[in-house]
Structures are given as structure tokens and as C-alpha cells.
């Protein structure tokens, strides 16, 4: 893993905005240290306004960091933005196209801006339109496209320049569920087969979990956790205990008594949302003891859920801890 080269590296990257009254500063991104490796799908996870898009714009040299450094494919986005942008494909949030031009014309324009001649780009464009699932829409004006089709065209647009790194900002927000699976599969395939590195931002946890090798969770400009889903989950289990949701046959109160009697169980409370379930804090090594105790007592478990491993829980926990930050709009 250590030998895999890094494609994006930031050290102490920070962006602060002056508030309108000029007295106070708002931190959009705080001291970010990020290493994104070649062929990796990296997810930036967080609610809107948490600093994801600001981070992306700094990586592309489209906004100036207040302090810290960034390096993309060996180039400094501040001093060499053209080189960075030549090799990095960026799909913005709510991507737009020129409505009067056809899908192919829009892609051809992007190719020209990247110095690719029309005769060179033709075959690439045909191939890309097929890959993103728009093989027959190329000659239609984009104003006739649905939002989902535009998003797919956006993906093709990003790939026209044959990028080494692609950055996708909320790539799936306007695509139907079937399309999401296809798009995420395409993104995975790019990373796996062509060694393209992908930086993907989303506020949709399950998509990030599905497709990303590693994730960083942003809350109000801070990265509160980074790593693989498992690593983050592991780091989040309070102390040495894990939390289980258990549902078992028989009387709910009796089930609770059996669970509490098992050594290693710290606490057991009825889940307020589903009163048939017990939420149990237990040492990891005692988990099997709880289940066998229930079986012996004749309460066959019909549901056992390990909350500690669910990113959802972590995500909720972070945002619950910082309600003010979540509500605060982006600068």
C-alpha cells in the first residue's frame, strides 16, 4: 500500500472567509491533510456546506487557499492551474451544458478546450456516449435531455480529456436509482481497470460506502474521521464496547433479563424507536455469549444488528454532536 504513488496531497490546507461585518472569520476548510493514492476511490462525505466543494475548488486552483499547500499530480494548483486542469476531470455539482448544442457538440467543445483536435476526439466521444448509457442521444440538443441524462453527459464530459484523476461533486443526486448503480459501477471500473484516481463528494452515505476505498467525513470544515469504512467504524466504538440491536422471540422484558445476566454486558435498554428491540452495550468477545444465553433460555434471536459497524450510525452521531454546524449555510 505504501508503495502506491500519491496523486493528490494536501498539507495544512485551509480556507477562511471573512464575514460581511469583517470582524469574524468563517472557516470553510480547516487544516486538511489528505493523501489520495493512484487508482483509489476516495469519498468526501458530509452535509452541504461542510467544506467539500471548497476543498475541490482549491485542488483545481479555482479558489485560493488561505494557508497550506496542495499538490496534484506533481503540480501546484495555484502556480500551474492549467496543467492540473489538463489532467483532472471535474464534474461540478449541478453540471450545466449549452442547451442549443447537441450532446456531442458539447463534448467536442470540451475536447477543443483541452487541445484535442476534432478528428482525434470523434471516436472517443462515440465510445464515451455509449459507456455512460447515452448511445443514441448524441445528436439531440442538450435542452431536450432530462436531468439524469445531463448528469451522465457530465460524466462523459469529464472523461473526454482522458484524465488521470477525476473529481465528482455530488455525481448521483439527480439520477434515478438504477442509474446510480450504473454510474457508480462505471466509476469503480475506471479506478480498477485504468488506474484512474477518483475523488467523490457526496452527502449520501450509502453510495459512498458502496463505492469508496477510503472516506473522509467532513463536518463544518473539519475532517472528523478518515480511513476505510471498517477503520472508521472501529475507531468509533466507544471504549471497548460494541452496540448491538437484538430482537428475540418471547416476552420483551424476559429477553432483557436474560441479556443483562450475561457477563460482559454493560447495559441493555429498550430501543425507543422499536420497542421489541434491545440496544445492548457489550464487550466484543461477549457477543456470542449473549446469543447462546438467549438460545438456552428459549428466546431465539430473530434480529442481531451490530451498530458499531454501520457508518450510518457514525454519520448520525457526528451530525447530532454538531447541530449548529449542520444548519449553518455554506459561505
Amino acid at each position: 500500500m505504501a508503495s502506491t504513488p500519491v496523486v493528490i496531497r494536501t498539507r495544512g490546507l485551509e480556507k477562511r472567509y471573512q464575514r460581511d461585518d469583517g470582524t469574524q472569520e468563517k472557516v470553510a476548510v480547516r487544516s486538511l491533510d489528505l493523501d489520495i493514492r493512484q487508482g483509489e476511490v476516495f469519498g468526501l462525505l458530509g452535509p452541504n456546506g461542510a467544506g467539500k466543494t471548497t476543498t475541490i475548488l482549491m485542488l483545481l486552483g479555482l479558489t485560493e487557499p488561505t494557508s497550506g499547500t496542495a499538490q496534484v499530480l506533481g503540480f501546484d494548483p495555484l502556480r500551474d492551474p492549467l496543467q492540473v486542469k489538463r489532467h483532472v476531470g471535474y464534474l461540478p455539482d449541478n453540471v450545466g451544458f449549452y442547451g442549443a448544442m447537441t450532446g456531442r457538440e458539447n463534448l467536442r467543445y470540451t475536447a477543443r478546450l483541452n487541445g484535442i483536435r476534432d478528428d482525434e476526439s470523434e471516436a472517443t466521444i462515440t465510445d464515451l456516449m455509449a459507456r455512460v448509457g447515452l448511445p443514441d442521444a448524441g445528436e439531440q440538443p442538450v435542452e431536450t435531455y432530462s436531468r439524469g441524462m445531463r448528469q451522465r453527459l457530465g460524466l462523459a464530459d469529464v472523461l473526454v480529456k482522458d484524465p488521470a484523476v477525476i473529481i465528482l461533486d455530488e455525481p448521483t443526486t439527480s439520477i434515478d436509482p438504477v442509474g446510480v448503480v450504473e454510474v457508480l459501477e462505471l466509476v469503480r471500473g475506471l479506478a480498477r481497470d485504468q488506474g484512474v484516481s477518483v475523488l467523490l463528494s457526496s452527502h449520501l452515505l450509502h453510495q459512498v460506502q458502496q463505492v469508496c476505498d477510503r472516506i473522509a467525513i467532513f463536518v463544518a470544515g473539519d475532517v472528523v474521521a478518515m480511513g476505510t469504512v471498517e477503520e472508521i467504524a472501529a475507531s468509533q466504538q466507544r471504549g471497548t464496547q460494541v452496540t448491538l440491536d437484538i430482537g428475540a422471540d418471547g416476552d420483551v422484558t424476559a429477553v432483557g433479563e436474560v441479556i443483562r445476566a450475561v457477563p460482559g454486558v454493560a447495559s441493555a435498554v429498550i430501543d425507543p424507536q422499536d420497542r421489541r428491540l434491545w440496544t445492548v452495550s457489550v464487550l466484543p468477545e461477549s457477543r456470542s455469549a449473549v446469543l447462546s444465553a438467549l438460545l438456552v433460555a428459549g428466546h431465539t434471536p430473530w434480529l442481531v444488528r451490530d451498530r458499531g459497524m454501520e457508518l450510518d450510525e457514525i454519520y448520525q452521531r457526528y451530525f447530532a454532536a454538531t447541530p449548529a454546524a449542520v444548519q449553518e449555510p455554506a459561505a
Binding site: 499530480l73 506533481g74 496543467q83 450545466g96 483541452n114 475507531s235
Partner: protein, 354 residues
Amino acid sequence: MTDIARVATQTSDAPMLTLPATRSIPAGWRVIGSREFTEHILSVRFIVLLLVLGLAGVLAIYAVAGSFRDAASAIAAEATKSLTGRPVSVFPLLFTQSPTIPGISGQSFPSFAGLVALLGPVLGIAFGFDAISSERSEGTLPRLVSQPIHRDDVINGKFVAGLAVITMILAAVIVLLSRVGIIRLGIVPDAEVVFRLVTWFLVAAIYVAFWLALATLASVVFRRAATAALVVIAFWLILTFFGNQIVSVAAGYLRPVPSGATATETLANVRMVADLGRLSPITLFTEMTQAMLNPMVQSLDPFFTDPTRRAFATALPYSQSLLLIWPQVVLLLAGTVICFAAAYVSFMRQEIRA
């Protein structure tokens, strides 16, 4: 906090994948400009403006030429009364004479030069008012600036494309009208007249460029294209219809003319009116039209424009007419540059994200 430790372990000393610098990055403003140009000439506004200016121009020239034959000899006679005895072509007067259309009393129809003064701003506004704001509202701006171009390529390319379309319309219409004039009048313009017409065309292009730059500035400052268009159109209407009144009031305040005023006081007031009037691009353009298309105009000083006060009834050579309008050219050019610079700077300082 355990989270911090976790974050720290995620960074590494692995080498960075460094790509060689790409050399074949094109000049972005050209690519952007050529796309904008194509879009402009396929647009409805282009066709409408070309038709309006072309038809109105043909109508003006045709009507002038009809009544011109009789007047032409008189004008030519006056013009040739110059001390040098040099004959003066009446051809440019085609563009400056207001036609008298049978059935319509008075000079209700403007000359072609008057039409350009009136409609030039519309041309500039039409191709500039949504230059930047449309990219924002369509969501194409973030995609555009994430391509390997400099940010100013966007505004430069758009301005150049707008200017190209406008000069194309102007050139096409002027050539068309000259043809109509040649056929109707049977006068072929000589080299000096061609110089005068070309110079006037360039001046008209700068005039329209001023309005294009102003509209572009509005498209950067205002998020909504409709707001930008309304603001610039309001500015244009005020200058066109109330400009003279505003200038007279201001001049009356700065250089008052009391009852029983001396000639000096009156002259000071008149000069102040002229100077303040030159703050308006419309006045500047009108003055330049007068001096460039009518060689008999010897001065743009209000004291001397009255024909009875003229020292000599002499036609100026081209170079002298050019000298006469030079201050106006510089002023108009300066106004254009200031507007474009303001648009440029505010665009460069704006965040890409709304």
C-alpha cells in the same frame, strides 16, 4: 481525541505520481470566442438585429437618394465653393441626411448615421447583457473554468466574439447601403470618401464596443440577465432622451446665464454644455459622425459650428477631419476600456460558486 490520531495515520510519505507538463494547451479565448461567435450568428437576436438595421438603413438611404438628386447639385455647389476649388463628394451625405418621406411631414425619420447612434447601443447590449450571467444560470461556468484555460479567457473570448459579430453586422449594412447609394445616385465614391466611410465604420465599431463592454460589466455584476439588460437599457434611454436636458440643467448651474448676461457668460455656458455633453458616448459619436462624414464641418466647438460664423467655406481634407475627431476617439476608447476593465476585474474577483 482518537479521531485526530486516526487522521494523522492516513497520510504517508509515498512518492507523488508526477505527470509531465502538457505543452499543447490551446489559447482558451480563441476556442471560447469561436463557440460564442457561432452561437451568436445562429441566434434569433442576430437575425432580428441584422434585419432591423438593414431594412431601416435601406429605407433611409432610398428615401434620401430620392430627394437627393435635386438637393445634390445645391449641396455640391456649396461644397465646391471652397477656396481651394477642390470638388467635394456628396456621397457621404447619403448617410447623414435625414430623409423626407412623402406623406410624412417634417423630418421624422432619422438618417442612417442617426440610426446607428440610436440602435448601436441595442446591438452592444444584445450581445453582452447575458455574457457571464447565462454561464452562471446554465451552470456551465464551473465546467468551463475547470478546463485548462485561464479565467480571463472566458471574458476575453466572449468580448471578442461579441465585437466580431457586431462589426460584421455594421460592415455588412454599410457595404449594402453604399451599393444602394451607388446605384440610385450613380456616384462612385472616390478614395477619400472610402477613407472617411472606413474611419466612420471603425468609430461606430468603438461606439458599439462601448455598449458591449457596459453590458458585459452588467452581466458580471448582476446575477440575472433580465436585471442586467434592464439596467443598461435604462441607462441608454436616459442618455438618449434626457441626456441633453440633464446637461443643460447642470451647465446652467455651473455656468449660470443670468438675464442680461454678457456674451462671455453665454459663451461659457455654451461651452460647458458641449463639454458635459461629451461625457455621453452618444454625443461623442454624433460629433464624430458630423466631422467625418461631412468635410464641410471645420470645428466641433459649438461657437464655430454655426455656418454663418464659419471663417472660410472650405472642405477639410481627410487628415484634418481625422485630427478634428481625435479627442472624441480617445475619449470613447477610454470609456470602452474602463468599462471592460471593470468587467474584467470584477469577474476575476468573483467566486466561481454562487
